[in-house]
Amino acid sequence: MSELNFVGKSFKRKDGPDKVTGRAVYSEDVKLPGTLIGRILRSPHPHARIVGIDTSKARALPGVKGVITVEDTKGVKHGFVETPRYPADQEVLARGKVVHVGEEIAAVAAVDAITAQRALALIEVEYEILPAVFDAERAMDPSAPEIHPSHPKVKEEYANIGGKSEGGWGDVERGFAESHYVREDRFESQVRTHGYLESQVTLAHWEGDKLNVWTSSMGNFVKRAKLAKTLDLPYSAVRIHKTYVGGTFGGKIDLFSHEYCAARLSILTGRPVRIVASREEIFSAFRHAQPLIVEVKTGVKKDGTILAQQMRVINDAGAYRGSGVVVVFLAWGFTMAPYRCPNLKYEGFSVYTNYSVRAPQRGHGCPKVRFAIESQLDMIAEALGIDPIAIRLRNARQPGEELPNGDNVHNGNLPACIRMAAEKSELLKKYGQARKTPQTGHLRRGIGIGISAYFGGSLVYPNSSGVMVKMNDDGSAIVLTGAIDVGQGSETIIAQIVAEELAVGMDDVKLISSDTDATPQDIGAWVSGMTYITGNAARQAAGNAREKLIQVAAEQMKVPVEDLWVENKEVFNRRHPEQRMSYAQVFAASVATRRGDTIVGEGFWRTMRDEPTHPSLATTKGRWTENYAFSAQVAEVEVDIETGEAKLVKAYTVHDCGFPINPALVKGQVDGQVSMALGHAFLEEVLTKNGYTLNPNWLDYRMPTIHNMAASEDADVITEEYRVGQPYRTKEVGEGLVSGILAAMGNAVYDATGVRLYSTPFAPDRILDGLKKLQLKQAAEIRETTTEMQWSQP
């Protein structure tokens, strides 16, 4: 195969000039004449029966053009998951009762924001307060208030179970019995939010037979499907337009009530309706990530080989099913993928609580699972006198290994990641220094490692991506793709792939993207699959166009197709390179001789093409993916042992993302994930009290600022292996790297201080409490030794 000219190189973003000049149009930048302002009436109670709603005063207010409640809807339910076992469970507006603070009850459309605000105040709702529950384990107690009935297929006598996943193999009890060392630990995590800068914004305009929608989204075809379903419209009557998107991180997938309300109000009023969520609404009524309780019991041989592992995961999933049942399913995968374990037992419960619904967030449960397992593995290593690298290498899956579910990790090379991370960071030289040698001053440095595996492009709706490449008669190309660029750089990457396959310049490729009417269907910017799935569809589409160009050229040049190849917008004869035709000439010839064929290439891709469906959420049976990306990450932290303040100083990320189409964009993903993870580790927490959000703003919810940035180095272990031959095999790099580094930070805090933390965030008071307990313990040990010495004296 010839040298690669476009993929594997750090081209600047295609959307860059738009974004640095202010020309980039985000949903709130779309202006339509006569637009009404929509607002949502939200529940002031965490759990209450709605006795009655009276909207008459609001409707009578001058300037109010529309008011809707659930009675004005078709009553069609939707859900993040819609399967026979987990049918859609949520109405677009509350019916009969509210189950969390901020739940949507009614919506108004008015001529301006002040009128909309007054209208909300005029809607009278009578509530009957119900007892509420805010702790997942308490909610499981059969005596807890019932938010929804437990899932009928869950055998345990727990209340409020939205769903359960189970998985495993072997015999864990026998494994534990055969183990040299067994330990059990429990880890917890806080509620965190996505922190997308662009608010949730929707503009909807009904034009009699067509609903035009501009909405801040990460998957326009998913939005279309759910909007059409809840509005009872054919898909062809709903068009989601392309806009730029100001960050998603998992928080903008699925249908949101305000999107439905804007659409419905537009249908009812005949005017465009815009709804913009305030930051307070996003924090207190929209979706956050899911906090997990992870109980893990692990048995090992003397040399650290894992013999058995048992996991129990409890997910505080909020008031509807949301992605809660997906997280407890994925947590199984994040457990079983990186390390070999002959006996494994997993159960995960998704539990309803009276909090707002939960969404996926970058990593979708993985950081919490890896934090638990990697922390415990370090504790096991220490107990056995093994170093943290050796114990990981002993258990890490090797390339080509087949998992018990039938997946193969292919070239995925976790051992290489671990070795390189250890080498680059000099972990073994630094590890334990803060605890071994006498230290002065109040700052302690610590180092730690964590590893992770992540899957790309699993089967979720719409399951595949199509791409079209249209040749222009000057030889340039237009790419039609449903891919949505949420900041990750999909447009740039697709352009690079098309430029490579077509041998045209980056400027010769223009994209029409993420418009549900104008572009082919696309999986969207989630499940970590865009570069892999849409990228491969783009590769095929461009390749298809190239084949057509070559075919026409072969006819014109009277040369066998096999002798022709492409470069610089020309088809040439490999045997006689001076013999060539420009694409413009080929295009003209195609139109002239092939009944007007304007050369349109088509491509499509789906993961696991031979698998009819996704694996079972409940039993975890079935193939998951053909894309396992592994990573090992090392953190160096600094802890002030007097104040408990801790920070990430440096992160080393060694990953196996397959072939990096654009290394600088990969680096951008790495840095962003390190930053998110340090927020998880040290800064961020959505504080709540009785279902109310206490810090719904960016002063009191502490997202990393520029002061908190950490040095971040990254390396890709096996680029060359993925380069060999077509296709340049890509995997995932956008989500998996929030996890190992979180665990690494926990292990590094331990290395610096001797304090083992079982909950995130590693807040200063927790570290300080740990240090105090350690001092007391050490003092007690010294007293004991002194007493022993006294006894032993004659």
Partner: protein
Amino acid sequence: MNHLHSQAAEDAAGQAHNGSKRRSRCIALNINGELHEITVQPRKMLIEVIRETVGLTGTKGSCLSGTCGACTVLLSGRPVLSCITLAVECEGKEIRTVEDLAQGGKLNALQEAFLDQGAVQCGFCTPGMLMSATALLERHEKPSLAQIKKGLEGNLCRCTGYNAIVDAVLQVSDQGVLPVMK
């Protein structure tokens, strides 16, 4: 049209509610060197006028409460938060928005540096970040890391972890950082 319509309705609604009409003021705002004469209620923030009345949507609103920096514009050279600055306070001052950075269709060196370093991902913090960085570079020709951090601390970015943004400022101030993207 839309603006006038909505403003009139708003005034009517306000009248109905308060019993008295609040005074709108006629002001002239100099935005990117162009003078805009507008009628505006005192409660309107600068960002509302820039985006809704004048139609320059490059300036982004995110928190609308002065906590994230997305709406940063330059007001007589000072980086300020247009979401907590009343439009009526800005008369007689020079307002610069992100649209003013590129001249004659050509990106300026700071914009180029942001693209060279991969300092732009979702792009939503970018206009505010660029305006803060512009003010920083007008004050310090070669800002130190500490000065960069103090100059940009009021601008949140969730995508980049800030590393590439710092590199962009170092690149444009000629402090030994070379482009990583081509």
